[in-house]
Symmetry: C2
Subunit: 344 residues, 2 copies
C-alpha cells in the first residue's frame, strides 16, 4: 500500500482564514480518507475549529505560527515579516523538509510565490516558475499557464512552460501525449510578438517526448478547448483569465435580468430550474479552484482568496492529485529527456 498523501495547509490564508480552511480540509478528507494534514496557523484560532471535526483533528498535526500574511501585503514585505514565522512559510517549509507532499494556501498570491521561490527554490533547468490554471472548455478542461507569475517571460521560458504544463496535463487528464498551443494573435507563423514566434520555432525544431505541439492558438481557442495546454506569458495570461471570469459574470447578470423580465420568463425559469442549476454548476468557479505553481522544487497550490470550504477542498484535491501522481518526477523526467535530446 502506498504511503498516505500528506498535505500542508496555510490555515490562516485567504479572506476567511481558518473558517474556510478547516471545513475545506474536512470535506477533502471525506473524499480521500487516507490523507494526512499538517496545518500551520494561530493555534488559538485553529484548535477550536478543528475540534468540531474529530476525524479531521485525528488526521491533522497543528503547528503554531505566530504571523499571518495579510492579503494586501507586498511580497517583499511579506517575506521580511513572515519568513520562518508565518503560517504561509511553515506550510511551504513542510514540503521542503519532506514532511508534506504538497502545500495549499488561499493567501496572497505574490507573497506565496515569493516565499515558495525562496524556500523551495526553482527547479534546475527552469528559468522561472509559472502558475497553471484549469480552464473549463466546451470539450472539458484545459490547462492554461502562466496566469500571473512570469510577467515578461522570454521564449525559453515559454518552452519550459510547455513542458511543465504537459506534465501536469498527463497527470490530471491522464493523457500520454497532451496537445500544447502557444497563445498568439493569429495562427500564421508570421503573427505576433517575437518571443512567441521564437518559442514556436524552438518547439517545432526540437520535438519533446510526451508533448504534441499544435502551434499557435488564439483567445477564442481557450473556451473552445482546441488544445490541452495553452502557454502564454504571465501578463497576457492573467488578463485573459480575468477577462473570461468577467465575461462569465456579465452573461450570468444578463441571464438573471432576462429571466426576471416577465411572468412567462419567471415561470419558464422555474420549470427549467434544474437546467439552470446544472448550468450554474458547470460555471461554478469553485470546482476548478486551484492554481498550481510549476517549476519549483515542490508542489504548491494556490486557492482563490475569496473561496468557501467547497472551493478550498477542490484546491486540496488538486494538490492531492499532483502529489499522488508524482508531478515533480514527471516534470523532471520530461525536462531531463529534453535537455538530453538537446545536448549531443
Amino acid at each position: 500500500m502506498p504511503a498516505p498523501v500528506r498535505i500542508s495547509l496555510d490555515a490562516m490564508g485567504g479572506d476567511n482564514g481558518a473558517n474556510v480552511v478547516v471545513p475545506g480540509a474536512a470535506l477533502a478528507l471525506e473524499r480521500h480518507p487516507e490523507m494526512r494534514f499538517l496545518m500551520a496557523g494561530d493555534e488559538a484560532a485553529v484548535r477550536p475549529l478543528l475540534e468540531a471535526h474529530p476525524r479531521l483533528a485525528a488526521a491533522t498535526e497543528l503547528r503554531h505560527a505566530e504571523i499571518t500574511i495579510g492579503m494586501d501585503e507586498k511580497p517583499s514585505q511579506a517575506v521580511r515579516t513572515g519568513r520562518w514565522k508565518s503560517s504561509m512559510w511553515k506550510a511551504i517549509q513542510a514540503v521542503r523538509d519532506g514532511e508534506a507532499d504538497a502545500a495549499v494556501s488561499a493567501g496572497n498570491t505574490g507573497a506565496l510565490m515569493a516565499m515558495s521561490k525562496i524556500c523551495l527554490k526553482t527547479m534546475a533547468h527552469v528559468e522561472r516558475p509559472a502558475i497553471a490554471a484549469i480552464w473549463p472548455t466546451v470539450r472539458g478542461e484545459s490547462i492554461v499557464l502562466d496566469v500571473g507569475a512570469s510577467i515578461g517571460a522570454d521564449a525559453p521560458h515559454l518552452v519550459d512552460m510547455a513542458i511543465m504544463g504537459a506534465a501536469m496535463a498527463r497527470i490530471i487528464f491522464d493523457l500520454p501525449q497532451p496537445t500544447v498551443g502557444l497563445l498568439n494573435v493569429g495562427t500564421e507563423e508570421i503573427k505576433g510578438i517575437e518571443i512567441v514566434r521564437e518559442a514556436n520555432r524552438m518547439l517545432r525544431e526540437t520535438p519533446i517526448p510526451g508533448l504534441a505541439y499544435h502551434g499557435f492558438v488564439e483567445g477564442d481557442d481557450l473556451g473552445r478547448g482546441t488544445v490541452d495546454v495553452v502557454v502564454t506569458e504571465g501578463f497576457t495570461g492573467n488578463i485573459a483569465l480575468k477577462t473570461a471570469e468577467g465575461t462569465a459574470k456579465q452573461i450570468a447578470a444578463y441571464l438573471r435580468a432576462a429571466m426576471n423580465r416577465t411572468w412567462r420568463a419567471r415561470l419558464g425559469y422555474l420549470l427549467a430550474r434544474d437546467a439552470f442549476d446544472a448550468l450554474r454548476d458547470k460555471m461554478d468557479p469553485r470546482k476548478v479552484n486551484g492554481g498550481v505553481f510549476l517549476g519549483l522544487e515542490g508542489v504548491v497550490v494556490k486557492s482563490h482568496g475569496g473561496t468557501d470550504a467547497l472551493g478550498f477542498a477542490s484546491a486540496i484535491d488538486m494538490a492531492y492529485d499532483m502529489a499522488q501522481h508524482q508531478l515533480m518526477r514527471t516534470i523532471r523526467d520530461m525536462l531531463g529527456e529534453t535537455s538530453a535530446d538537446a545536448s549531443p
Copy 2:
C-alpha cells in the same frame, strides 16, 4: 443644413463581399436617408446587386476596381498587388482625396491597416495607429483599444491611445470627460510590466483635458464597465477580445445544452423564449460590429469579415457617427491641447 455624410465602401471586402456590403448599405441608408455612398468594387458583381435597391443605387456612386484583396493575403502582399487598383485601396483613397468622410471595409484587417497607413498617413504627434472596439458591459458599453494593430506598443503610444479612445468616447457616448483605465494585472502602482507603469506615471503627471484618468483596471473590469475607455497594447488587447468572444460562445453552448436536457427544461425554454431572445440580442456581436482605426489622417472602420448585412450596417453606422461628430477634429484638438500643455 450640414452637408450629407459620405461613406466610401470596399464593396468586395469580407467573406461574402458585395452580397453583404450592398444590403448592409441599404439598411444603413434607411436609418440615415441623407447618407451618400461611394462603392469601390467589381462593377459586374456590384451593379446587379445595387439595382435590387433603387434608393441605395440613387445614393451611390459605383467605382470600378479590378482587384479584390483576399482574406488571407499578407499585408505586404496585399499592398503590392492592391495599391491603387483594389476595392480596398480605392475606398481608403476616397477619404484621402476628400471624396468621402469615412471608409468601411470588411476585408482583411492587416491589409486594411497597412493600406490605410500608406494612403492616409499616421497623424502628427501619434506614434502608431490603433484599433478601437466597442465592448458590451453590464453598465452599457466601453471602448477598448488597441485590439490588434500596435503589437508591442510602448508607454507614449499607450498615452496616445488614451487620448484617442477618450475622443471617440466623447463622440459615441456623448460624455464630456470619459474615464480611462490602463489594463494591468493588478490595481496597485507597483504591478505589471514597465511600459504600463510608465504610461500610468505619464497619465498621472500630465492631466489631459477632456479625459478623467482612472488608473489601472484588470481583465474582469472589462465586462464590468468600470471605465469608459480601456487602454492596452495590441497583443494583449487582441487576446482579451477573442477570449471574451470565446467565453460568450462557450456559455451559449452550455446554455443550449442545459435547455435541451429534459422536457421540463425544454418547456421552460419555450415559456421564457422572449427572455432568451432578449439575451441573444444583448449578446449579438453584430450590434457592436466595427473596429475604428484611430490615429490616421482619416476615419476607417473595419467590419468583421464574417458578418451579415445587419452587422455591416452597424459598421456603417459607426463610421457615420465618427464622421458626423468630427472624430478627427476632436482627436486633433485633444492632442493639440496636450502637446501645448506639455511644452512650456
